[in-house]
Structures are given as C-alpha cells and as structure tokens.
Symmetry: C2
Amino acid sequence: MKRLTDAERDAALSTVPQWEYGALRGGVIRRVFVFADFTQAFAFMTQVAFHAEKADHHPEWANVYNRVDITLTTHDADGLSQRDVALAQVIDRIAEGMQRP
Amino acid sequence: MKRLTDAERDAALSTVPQWEYGALRGGVIRRVFVFADFTQAFAFMTQVAFHAEKADHHPEWANVYNRVDITLTTHDADGLSQRDVALAQVIDRIAEGMQRP
C-alpha cells in the first residue's frame, strides 16, 4: 500500500471534506463524531469495527460517552493511503444512519 | 455519587491492583489491555459497553488494533468514586475471558 502523493491526497480528501488532514506521522486524517448517546456511539463503532476487520484496515479511535474521535493513517505507507480514504468514506456513510444529539 | 476519601481510595484500589491511579482531574484510574487481535479487543469492548450502559457509568477509552486503553473517573464526583472501582472490577473479569497475545 503506497502513500498518496500530494496531488492524489488533495483529490482524495475532496471526497471526505469533513475529515481534517494533519501532517503528523507522515499524514493522518481525523474526524470527531457526536451522537445522541452512548448507545448510538457504540452502535456506530460496532458497524465500523466489522467493516474495518473485513478490510483489514483499522482505525485509531477514542470514545467518551456520545463522542467518537477517529484518526486514520496507514502505518505501512508511513502516511495516508487510499485505504484511509476508502475507510473514511464508509465511516461517513455509517454515521449518516445514526442518531445525532 | 461521592468522591472517595484517601483512605477509601487506598482500600478500593487494592481490589483492582492492575489499575494505575493518577491524581489528574481529581483522581482517575487507568489500565491498558492487550489482546490477541482486533476482534478480541473489540469483543472485549462490546462486553464492557453493555455493562457500562446498564450501570450508567461509561469509560473513557481508546483502541488501536489489539490495544485498549481505559481511563475511569466520575465527573459528578470530581474524582474517583465507588462506581469507578466497581466498573474496573467488572472490566478485569471480562478481560480474563479474552484471548491475549
């Protein structure tokens, strides 16, 4: 899995505009989701977990009650790869189905 | 829910010796668990999540692949309460049933 070039990255990130790009660790993207309550937040995480396991690409994430803070990067690529962008797209779709505050 | 006194805290923490006490935010306890893989880690989190929701006392936690980093504190008590110790005990029991590396 190859790290995206700057041009590839810009094009890819335009498909997930709610994710924030950070230059740390060669490149990461991050998004914070807030749901109606803990049950909704964990149901979201569970759906993401199944997808991540199937794709063999896992998020770095933290949860406090109704808040889920997700960072994506590709360790093997020393930065951002197409797998991060693909996972971010799936995560966005899953979040759309959950209850917000 | 009342914050534990120093004496109560020492007695309570002796029941969960693998949790590390920290003075920040009025008092927290933290333990890092490492499992065989992501599936085991998330299965552990799912069991903890159901218990936490039932007890209406939720962890602050982060997961990266097979690693789960948990911090417990009681916001309403401005520190550590009996609910944190009770949840830590349950978490320890759940972890015992999971596959380690």
